[in-house]
């Protein structure tokens, strides 16, 4: 086991990026707006290696000072002390660090990046053998654009879906659940139906349409039945978070799905680590076709264990990691994970535009990303641009 890669310096900087347009509401939250941001973290060793991650999960819940204190604990530590490795594979976590990594799943990205670079292997190979060379991805940025451009109605979403397909996407996810907050419930259901059908009309029969209601049909099951019935001809690929997870509600939803839209997957679970009992109940009853904990929050190893546990349980549930807020680094992590995970479905791409990341082996063609062979996460940062633009706002942690 090598022991010459001690963490000696950590740099944190906020990196603004743009959607290139205003991304509107979902069923419960205000506009995402023009921009999102990563909290880019460079973790460097005294041996000259650097791993990266995005500390946004921490910055979403606590001030920079809390992130500073938690990352400071990594200084002086060897990159190989966090996990047990056997024959080049991670086989377990050091109990000393288990709780830390559970609370700071995003740190796992930098550690896999560093371990991969130290061993000269891509991050995914630390988990297993590659099972696919290309990772399907969906454009996840189609929000309530009809509230951003009211005069276009459902056409506001259809237009953006069409543009996504023109940019190469072969799958798009539409935010739904207008009855939940921002619309009168009947009018919201009608608009949801119009949006799905208008998008199908706009993108043609081959493009996969995913829908995500962010639980906007809670307490409105008759409206949900109407939605499923009246979008049957749109051949929806998956229905995500149509209601909050509960067995009885999901039984009804499955019945309607089976009756009207039998090809659609039922997916849920982005806000959990996949360990809550409700998910295992839903899996047991065949009510959950894919589970979606957030990739950056959970980290590679806990996600790998979740996939293994589902495999061992014999349940058919697949895995489709949530990734909306995690932007470019999160997407690359999802691609690495998808490369070695049999039951992986598709990667969520918020389609944010970064000029900081160079063309880096994650080549996007025909709706899918290639998986790079370069060591670690294979994220290539334009350091000249980084220094010029971000050094003023950097926070540096050293011994």
């Amino acid at each position: 086991m090598p022991h010459e890669h001690r963490i000696s310096e950590i740099r944190i900087a906020p990196v603004e990026t743009t959607f290139g347009r205003i991304v509107g509401r979902n069923s419960k939250s205000e506009n995402y707006g023009l921009n999102q941001r990563e909290w880019l973290v460079h973790v460097s060793t005294d041996s000259g290696l650097t791993g990266v991650t995005n500390a946004r999960p921490s910055m979403n819940r606590a001030p920079l000072s809390a992130l500073y204190e938690s990352l400071k604990l990594l200084i002086g530590r060897d990159v190989f002390e966090f996990y047990r490795l056997s024959n080049g594979r991670v086989t377990g976590v050091n109990p000393r660090w288990q709780e830390y990594l559970r609370l700071h799943g995003f740190v796992d990205f930098a550690l896999f990046d560093l371990m991969g670079k130290a061993l000269g292997v891509p991050a995914h190979r630390l988990l297993g053998d590659r099972v696919r060379d290309r990772i399907d991805a969906y454009d996840s940025s189609l929000y309530f654009q009809d509230l951003v451009h009211p005069e276009l109605g459902a056409g506001a979403v259809a237009q953006e879906a069409k543009e996504a397909v023109e940019r190469g996407w072969r799958a798009v996810k539409l935010k739904l659940g207008r009855p939940g907050k921002w619309f009168e419930p009947n009018a919201g259901t009608s608009r949801d139906i119009d949006v799905v059908n208008a998008v199908r009309e706009a993108v043609g029969p081959e493009v996969r349409i995913l829908v995500d209601a962010n639980n906007g049909y809670d307490g409105r099951l008759p409206l949900l039945e109407r939605f499923v019935r009246e979008t049957a001809q749109a051949n929806v690929f998956w229905m995500e978070e149509m209601i909050t997870e509960n067995v009885e509600g999901y039984r009804q939803l499955r019945d309607w799905r089976d009756r009207y839209s039998p090809g659609a997957m039922l997916v849920d679970g982005e806000s959990d680590e996949g360990r809550n009992t409700i998910y295992w109940q839903l899996m047991e009853e065949g009510l959950l076709d894919a589970i979606q904990p957030d990739m950056l929050h959970l980290g590679f190893w806990p996600y790998h264990i979740l996939a293994r546990d589902i495999e061992d349980s014999g349940y058919a549930t697949k895995i489709a990691p949530h990734n909306f807020n995690a932007a470019a680094i999160g997407l690359r992590g999802v691609i690495q994970f998808g490369a070695v995970t049999e039951r992986f479905v598709i990667a969520e791409d918020s389609t944010l535009k970064f000029d900081l990341y160079r063309e880096d082996g994650y080549e996007f063609t025909n709706g899918a990303y290639s998986v790079p062979d370069a060591p670690g996460l294979a994220i290539d940062i334009d350091m000249d641009l980084y220094r010029r633009r971000h050094s003023r706002d950097e926070t540096v942690i050293r011994n």
Partner: protein
């Protein structure tokens, strides 16, 4: 003529655009470029209309709940029942709606607008009559703009302040408190100071600057002491919410001001949802604040009239918070400010006007008070129908 009754109510979300992107403040992530104004229209059986904004209600509720609430309070209600009026001035909400207006102050603005239009008088008159002919306004869009263009840093904020001056403003408020969440505390304080001094340099001396910490100095009174000392040369007009409302904390700030020669007013109160609640009452009684800031639309005209009665003689100025209320809030602040002896300045988000066509002019950094009935704001019906009516939700009787 028989008394007019309200017979139609509708709610419409209308995108309001800022003139630029607004970044973070001490606690919240980027504000962005566009927001929704939830416009409420109520029309009488004789076709007279009053308007208000339910945006604050919608933050924590739903359209269905909003429609239910509006129906219960307004539908079929005689206009004469909405407000008690004596000598041409509103003395309080009408008994049937008093509780609703106390809980949902934004509803009272619709009542003043409607009563004013029905009776041919302005909201300014209903609020007690004009005490000034124009009301100053401050540009409130100087967020953490340095993060949006990190290469420029504080220069970016200074450029935007200079633009505000070119656009006619003579006052602006600077968001500070970077150490509260987005930077380490000391580095955040340094950046706050750099931004304030760079903005003063950019706008020149004859320009009023306020700062707003959104509680970003909580737990860091030592750094607040540094901030106050180092920004004395910038001549700050008021220090807003530098820390959470707390008597000992505000006493400490007063001592810092005395030590460093800061003449800035201390202001807070936008978070007071039930004005004037205990801590704020003590801050006022003990002379620890100089301006009180519950939101103009959230509290509405009827509650703000009561607040002013309670503040009388306390030496505390009325500075209603207005951020998040868009164009409408500016018009409401103007009406209130025109009739308020102690009013300081309108918080102006400088949103691009949409369906509202106000009668007011903006000159030399102030809005000119008009005489039009009600709020003096008309809705461009053609624009409303062509752009926004597809999302109009109506309450039926």
């Amino acid at each position: 003529m028989s008394p007019q009754r309200i017979k139609e109510i509708s709610v419409t979300p209308i995108p309001a655009h800022y003139r630029k992107e607004l970044g973070k403040n001490a606690y919240a992530d980027n504000r962005g470029t566009q927001w929704l104004e939830w416009v409420v229209r109520a029309r009488t059986d004789q076709g007279v209309e009053g308007i208000t904004l339910a945006s604050r209600f919608m933050r924590e509720s739903s359209v269905q709940s909003l429609l239910d609430t509006l129906r219960e309070v307004f539908m079929g209600r005689p206009v004469d029942d909405l407000l008690n009026i004596s000598g041409g001035r509103v003395t309080g909400p009408g008994a049937p709606v008093a509780r609703a207006f106390e809980q949902h102050g934004w509803m009272s603005i619709l009542a003043y607008d409607l009563v004013g239009r029905v009776n041919g008088v302005s909201c300014v008159d209903l609020l007690g009559g004009r005490v000034r002919d124009s009301v100053p306004a401050y540009d409130t869009t100087l967020y953490f703009q340095d993060f949006l263009d990190p290469e420029k840093g504080p220069v970016k904020a200074a450029e935007e302040a200079a633009e505000a001056r070119r656009a006619g403003y003579r006052q602006a408020k600077i968001k500070v408190g970077r150490g509260g969440r987005w930077m380490l505390p000391e580095a955040g304080m340094r950046r706050d100071v750099d931004v304030v001094l760079a903005i003063r340099e950019a706008v020149g001396p004859d320009f009023t600057l306020m700062v707003d910490g959104n509680f970003g100095y909580d737990g860091h009174l030592d750094l607040l002491d540094d901030f106050i000392r180092e920004t004395v040369p910038a001549g700050i007009f008021w220090l807003e919410e530098m820390i959470t409302h707390d008597l000992d904390g505000y006493r400490a700030i007063r001592e810092m001001q005395a030590r460093h020669g800061s003449k800035a007013l201390l202001t807070c109160g936008e978070v007071d949802r039930t004005p004037i609640s205990t801590t704020f009452r003590y801050l006022i009684e003990d002379g620890l604040i100089d301006g009180y800031q519950p939101d103009i639309v959230a509290q509405g005209f009827s509650t703000w009239q009561r607040i002013e009665r309670e503040l009388a003689g306390a030496g505390v100025r009325s500075i209603p918070h207005n951020f998040g209320n868009g164009c409408f809030g500016t018009y409401a602040s103007l009406a209130f400010g025109a009739a308020s002896e102690t009013f300081a300045s309108i918080e102006d988000e400088r949103c691009v006007p949409h369906v509202f066509t106000p009668a007011h002019r903006f000159e030399n950094g102030s809005y000119v008070v008009g005489d039009a009935p009600g709020l003096g704001v008309e809705i461009d019906e053609e624009k409303f129908q062509s752009k926004y009516a597809a999302n109009e939700f109506k309450v039926t009787g």
